[in-house]
């Protein structure tokens, strides 16, 4: 009897699986461009896995550009980039489906999906940076250090990812009320996790460039800026992928998201200006770091990529678009994502380029340090992007363009 039940259940599960798999395959119909994009993303992802494993095999000391003096390189900054984006997507989308501002509703589902994928991309990248992921899994649980922001960040991001995944599930099975409650918990966990990420840098009292309460605050504002840009860009891309035309509600949603973008770029410009102005009355080490950005070896990154591409040009385009000109809006958000990537890079790297003994005036540390990402590191970074690309492309088809009914 029991055997029969098991067999029936097995059969049912198998049939379900087959139907599901067939459905997924059915839904994966797309253009040649779509398949090419899928392929490229997949190759990038696989190359990253290969590079990451190889790096562990030959030793990260040999494989990565990071060093004793500059222990955190592009893998950490890319992790920051992805989790900032994820938190931002969560926050921007919550305006609609958690806090009830109707205009934001149409972007919500896709934003939540992407927030899960971007945080997973972040975890993917940092998994190759952490030397002993297995020890991490064990000792994070049995030997937690409650004064450590890294510990809090990791733990809270774990909770955040869980809430976002549950929220998304409830949205997919069309239970918006529960999704809203879980979504709120996701927002709380996201803000807590993300400010802790800021504090990972802000609480390092030996590093003047980062130290202070500025970082957690900056990270939250910066996340919303990233989130606005990312959801605009990927929504536009999704409609290209699906070969559909946006309806009025979606256009309206992008229009209001543009406003969020304008506001947050302004906030970050304001923050950045004051960081520099206050920084120049700081010590020699802090001034040296700021000068590197303003006129030194990172001046192009700062002025060209962070300020121009990441903020000023998008701000001008957003304003000029009046929320109507989609080309301008999309160009602006693509530029922002590109610029913000380097914003994170500069933040992480330049913070370490002033040697800790710089002010001691010793020969060994009279010069500023340097860091160049290695091929292994770059491949892993691209793999993180491949992961987002791949899951985005698949997600659009599997979840039917993340269409949501407004309740």
């Amino acid at each position: 009897m029991a055997e029969d039940v098991t067999k029936t259940a097995e059969a049912a599960v198998l049939t379900g699986w087959r139907a599901g798999a067939a459905g997924v395959l059915q839904s994966l119909q797309g253009t040649k461009g779509y398949y090419a994009a899928l392929m490229i993303s997949g190759v990038l992802l696989l190359a990253a896995v290969a590079a990451g494993i190889h790096a562990q095999y030959i030793g990260t000391m040999n494989a990565y550009g990071a060093s004793r003096e500059v222990p955190w390189g592009i893998l950490i900054s890319t992790y920051v980039f992805f989790v900032v984006t994820s938190t931002g997507l969560c926050l921007v989308s919550s305006i609609g489906h958690v806090f009830g501002v109707k205009e934001f509703m149409p972007i919500a589902k896709r934003a939540i999906f992407l927030s899960i994928m971007t945080i997973m991309a972040g975890f993917f990248v940092i998994a190759f940076e952490i030397e002993n992921p297995l020890r991490m899994a064990l000792y994070n649980v049995i030997s937690p250090n409650l004064t450590s922001n890294i510990w809090w960040m990791g733990t809270l991001y774990g909770a955040y990812m869980f809430f976002m995944a549950v929220e998304f599930t409830f949205l997919v099975i069309n239970k918006p009320k529960i999704a809203t409650i879980i979504g709120f918990m996701g927002v709380v966990a996201g803000i807590a996790a993300h400010s802790n990420l800021g504090a990972v840098f802000g609480m390092l009292h030996g590093r003047e460039f980062w130290y202070g309460p500025y970082m957690p605050i900056y990270f939250i504002a910066s996340a919303m800026m990233s989130g606005a840009a990312t959801i605009i860009f990927f929504t536009w891309l999704a409609y290209k992928v699906n070969g559909q035309k946006m309806d009025g509600l979606m256009k309206k949603a992008l229009q209001v998201t543009t406003k969020v973008g304008i506001l947050l770029i302004s906030v970050i410009l304001f923050f950045t200006a004051w960081k520099f102005i206050t920084g120049f009355v700081g010590g020699e080490a802090k001034t040296a770091a700021l000068e590197m950005l303003l006129s030194g070896s990172y001046a192009f990154n700062f002025w060209g990529l962070e300020v121009a591409a990441g903020m000023v040009i998008p701000l001008a385009l957003f304003i000029a678009s009046r929320g109507q000109n989609l080309k301008m809006i999309v160009t602006a958000s693509a530029l922002m994502i590109f610029g913000i990537f380097f914003m994170r890079y500069d933040l992480v790297v330049v913070g370490q380029l002033v040697p800790v003994y710089y002010e001691l005036g010793v020969n060994e540390y009279s010069e500023l340090l340097s860091y160049t990402p290695s091929a292994h590191e770059i491949l892993i970074v691209l793999g993180g992007m491949g992961f987002v690309g791949l899951t985005f492309l698949l997600g659009e088809k599997v979840f039917g363009g993340h269409k949501s009914e407004i309740h």
Binding site: R68, E131, Y139, L204, G206, Y357
Partner: protein, 251 residues
């Protein structure tokens, strides 16, 4: 003249907290004037360092929190950069060639009147508020409750390198063999725990530039120098707020 401004009466009150800031500053200037040392802004105080180097003056000077409270005093002018210390350190503690637990930095001043070059041995400062210990997610690095030494429990190290980024003294490196961050532990594992009294570097130094000892023992050389009003004693990077236990002096 700086010397004229000094209120001698006030100077006799030795408790650092009693001295008003202005007079204190004058006193500092006097210290610098007398010793003629201006070490690139790294001088913390011309008086006994203890009050400034710890979190709370009374708490720490009346009773040191660790017994023994291990610390090191570096006679900066005695170091001749012979590198015996770094060599024995590597040998004693199995430090690979790509890493180091201690090294000697060199400072040059072409305009200096006499000696134009000096050497500054650096190592883990075994801080009282160690940024590495605060930041470590898994307590792989911790402050020993008995000796005050900042220790490593390698098996717990996840290799996130937060401690390396956090350290104001660049005292840490990632050891590929143990797959954990490694650092100076005042030779606790290799020597002190086996009954030895000194670190390998302190024992080997031919110039007696490194004095290792117990700051809570009023008879130790470290204590007697650090608590000596006549001596100029300082720590590196006091502004980082880590409250180090490696002290520097000259003369």
């Amino acid at each position: 003249m700086l010397l004229k401004k000094i209120n001698i009466e006030a100077m006799k009150r030795e408790d650092a907290e009693i001295i008003p800031p202005l007079e204190r500053r004058d006193f500092l200037k006097l210290g610098l004037l007398i010793t003629g040392v201006f070490a690139g802004g790294s001088i913390l105080s011309a008086t006994s360092i203890v009050g400034k180097a710890f979190a709370s003056t009374r708490e720490f000077t009346e009773q040191y929190p660790y017994k023994p409270h291990y610390s090191m005093l570096v006679h900066q002018d005695r170091c001749i950069d012979c590198e015996v210390c770094t060599t024995v350190c590597a040998k004693t503690n199995n430090v690979p060639t790509y890493g180091y637990r201690t090294r000697i930095l060199e400072r040059e001043d072409r305009k200096a009147v006499d000696r134009s070059r000096e050497f500054i041995p650096v190592l883990c400062n075994q801080c009282n508020t160690p940024p590495c210990v605060i930041g470590c997610p898994t307590k792989a690095t911790y402050k020993s409750a008995t000796t005050g030494i900042v220790m490593m429990e390698s098996k717990k190290c996840i290799g996130c390198k937060t401690c390396m980024a956090a350290c104001p003294y660049n005292a840490r490196y990632f050891n590929e063999e143990t797959r954990a961050v490694d650092k100076c532990d005042f030779c606790f594992n290799s020597r002190l725990s086996r009954g030895e009294k000194l670190t390998a570097c302190a024992e080997a130094c031919p110039a007696k530039a490194r004095i290792f000892g117990d700051l809570s023992d009023s008879g130790s050389e470290v204590f007697r120098t650090v608590h000596n009003m006549e001596k100029t004693v300082w720590v590196l990077r006091p502004e980082a707020g880590a409250k180090p236990n490696v002290f520097y002096t000259k003369g």
